[in-house]
């Protein structure tokens, strides 16, 4: 069966510090991968999605970047965090099929102070 991992579970970082959040998927090959951000009391905003290694699309201009160095690894990064980067970050995967059901990781709670 497939599983998706995210770490760390929670993170408190000062403004201006770098960020690296990691997501890995097990039990499937060549998944589509996604990064979402969920601000407090709001819905999900798609940040990045990837259909393959080094193939990443950015949905919104922002202070963040994403990389996919391996087939089942997806990394969210920032060189300098802003206060507005605080939120709940969710990684998800899907296969290229219809319907494209997405399966979510447990999330990372990021607080920028």
């Amino acid at each position: 069966s497939q599983t998706i991992h995210q770490w760390p579970a929670t993170l408190v970082q000062p403004v201006g510090s770098p960020l690296s959040l990691e997501c890995t998927v097990e039990g499937t090959s060549n998944p589509n991968l996604y990064w979402y951000r969920q601000a407090a009391g709001r819905g999900l905003q798609l940040l990045f999605y990837s259909i393959g290694i080094d193939q990443i699309s950015s949905e919104v201009p922002q202070n963040l970047s994403a990389s996919r160095p391996q087939d089942r690894q997806f990394i969210l990064s920032s060189k300098k965090l802003l206060l507005s980067d605080s939120g709940f970050y969710l990684c998800a995967w899907s296969v290229l099929a219809r319907p494209a059901t997405q399966y979510f990781g447990p999330g990372t709670r990021l607080l920028v102070l």
């Binding site: 995210q6 589509n32 996604y34 709001r42 819905g43 999900l44 798609l46 999605y49 259909i51 709940f88 969710l90 998800a92 899907s94 296969v95 290229l96 099929a97 219809r98 319907p99 494209a100 059901t101 997405q102 399966y103 979510f104 990781g105 447990p106 999330g107 709670r109």
Partner: protein
């Protein structure tokens, strides 16, 4: 283009009474539709999905949703609410094989004893 509107940001019911969470969508193509549930500080869990087969879809934990093309709706129902149903619920539409999805803003379900 696709969009989804969850008509109620908050729904409150008493334990043992029916639940109705409303969702309308728009899509240029035959959509795939999903309902997810999110408990506090957790990832999203798939409740059910519509795949252009039966219009009445049964999901986990006693939830159902009915696809009504004429009304462009995909409302989520449950005959009898349980305290453990208290959570955030998201309606999602996807009309591309690439798996890009649009999330509603969510409905918070409160269940009173």
């Amino acid at each position: 283009a696709q969009s989804v509107t969850q008509l109620d940001s908050h729904v409150s019911v008493s334990e043992g009474t029916p639940v109705l969470l409303r969702c309308n969508y728009s899509s240029s193509y035959s959509p795939s539709l999903f309902w997810y549930v999110q408990h506090p500080n957790k990832g999203l869990q798939l409740l059910l999905k519509y795949t252009s087969a039966a219009t009445l879809v049964k999901g986990i934990n006693g939830f159902e949703a009915e696809f009504k093309k004429s009304e462009t709706s995909f409302h989520l129902t449950k005959p009898s609410a349980h305290m453990s149903d208290a959570a955030e619920y998201f309606c999602v539409v996807s009309d591309t094989n690439a798996g890009k999805s649009t999330f509603g803003d969510g409905t918070t379900l409160t269940v009173k004893p």
